[in-house]
Symmetry: C2
Subunit: 322 residues, 2 copies
């Protein structure tokens, strides 16, 4: 197999590249290195079957030219489209950020696939497409889909464009609605934020929001295993799957306490007053994972175990190694 | 009230402009006249409170400049965003058509509203956001949303962007999921297509698809009355409503027979073999309208009555007048 991964230098992209090269596939990774980093690719850079191309999927002419050249040598059999904005508040203040990095990347990936005749697409969507459903457990058929952030909006826009492309020229499509995913290399997110705040000031951890926001977390190793299981077993032409842990999640307060206990036990934790951290943040969120379970797979780690392992990973990355 | 209507020179836009000017509002209509036509505005062109500006919502700098100028004189209180591609097959063969005309128009309308501080938006969405749900009756909470055409995809993308904007800077938003809407001035659609085919050849009506596709139709007068009723009574911040007739719809075969009976009774009707007319066409579609009914309003005409009145309207437009 010859596989294209977009956003390969990001947190999930580099873990996926490692897994797919280990399985023996030819893997071509592209990234514009705006949020991803070359150092994340150290895990695959010495693999003979891994190739990195620096290009911006949002820049259609150069993206298409680069892909056409490679496609002539090793015709791509599938695409994993992970490239997207990862700074959600930045996208809320300026809608053009997610327009370009989260949506136009998808639009262009589809145009490239149509032009080159590539028929299989796996897409990193997000729980953010659902918006705020309160205490309701969210399944793949839940609606209405009213995202709160431009990030969620442009992930939903991407799903929609993929769905239309599936009707027209794709043969198989996987839409993975990611939960909060944690692990290393950590590039953003609550754990990295907390660890770095404590590095800067070991006596104080300021938390955005009142700490009651509760979400489920999935470790990146489980995420990748889950996606590959879905790809093996799902039968729909457009296979939409929630991916996540089965538990009720863990509160920001519990996460803050766990990071403080590990990094700087003497620190005071100071909370905000709102029940959300920023515009577009969903205060509580729980997935229904019946559809995933029916494929015969569940994650190895629940939210609490995933947080615990990821804190250890990130402390190693941010403190021990530096 | 000072109201902006985009796509004002289209079929629904000009009918809406007439209604809102009649109610005494200042109405500014914009259109790029690519699919709309100035002659559609004959019904409002002599109204002192109606103003037409030729501009393309997809061209941000000139659209914003025109709107800013007018906004300084008569600050807009709300926007009705109707501008979109109306040629669905064209958008299926070339995805950039709906990207520009159906999605970027919405994106830019939101940017203009944010810049000028306009807080209320009514949006013409579509039943096409749902995709194919088979025999299932479709309510506003139905999912998954897997549109089959780029038109449907970019309407869903628009809804998503509006939803995120509602969280960030809009105070009130109406998302109207239109059914098939009929009436005059007819610019596209099955009735106009059939009437014009029979004008060209009174002996033969070629029908795309096998004629079993069955859909509900709403007359444009009912559509506009329904939207205004929702605007008066809906309480949600983001009010998503299916708009349509309550019946099971009418088959393409019945429509073909009705048009033939009215226009050229001697014509033979020849059907295709597929159960859909084109890629992106949904063979069968039925709305659940419980949410609309709870507001205390139902359309005056069912699908059959709406088709009958619209055929008479279109024959008048295409044959009697010419």
């Amino acid at each position: 197999m010859s596989i294209l991964i977009t956003g390969v230098a990001g947190f999930i992209g580099c873990n996926l590249a490692k897994r797919l090269t280990n399985e023996g596939h030819i893997v071509v990774g592209v990234d514009n290195l705006s949020r991803g980093a070359l150092q994340n690719l150290s895990v695959v850079e010495n693999e003979a079957n891994f190739h990195f191309i620096e290009t911006d999927c949002a820049d259609m002419p150069s993206f298409l030219a680069e892909m056409s050249t490679f496609h002539q040598k090793f015709p791509f059999t599938e695409v994993w489209h992970l490239a997207a904005n990862s700074d959600i508040p930045a996208g809320v203040s300026d809608a053009t950020v997610d327009l370009k990095d989260t949506f136009m990347t998808t639009f262009n990936v589809l145009e490239v696939m149509k032009t080159l005749g590539i028929k299989v697409l796996a897409f990193a969507s997000s729980s953010a497409v659902y918006g705020d459903h309160g205490d309701q457990s969210i399944s793949e058929v839940s609606g209405p889909l009213l995202p709160l952030s431009n990030y969620g909006a442009m992930k939903l826009a991407s799903e929609a464009a993929i769905s239309a492309a599936a009707e027209s020229f794709l043969t198989k499509t996987f839409i993975y609605r990611f939960p909060n995913v944690i692990g290393v290399p950590a590039t953003h997110g609550v754990l990295l934020d907390f660890v770095n705040k404590l590095k800067a000031n070991p006596n104080l951890l300021n938390v955005l929001g009142n700490g009651t926001q509760q979400k489920a977390y999935l470790h990146v190793d489980d995420l990748i295993e889950g996606m590959l299981q879905i790809q093996r077993h799902a039968t729909e032409k457009v296979a939409v799957y929630n991916l996540g842990a089965e538990d009720e999640g863990i509160s920001v307060r519990s996460i803050a306490e766990a990071v403080v206990a590990r990094v700087s036990p003497r620190a005071n934790i100071v909370y905000g007053v709102e029940n959300r951290g920023w515009v577009g943040d969903v205060p509580k969120f729980q997935y229904c994972l019946d559809k995933l379970r029916k494929l015969g797979w569940t994650p190895e780690l629940d939210s609490t175990a995933a947080i615990k392992r990821a804190i250890a990973d990130i402390v190693e990355q941010e403190i021990t190694k530096k």
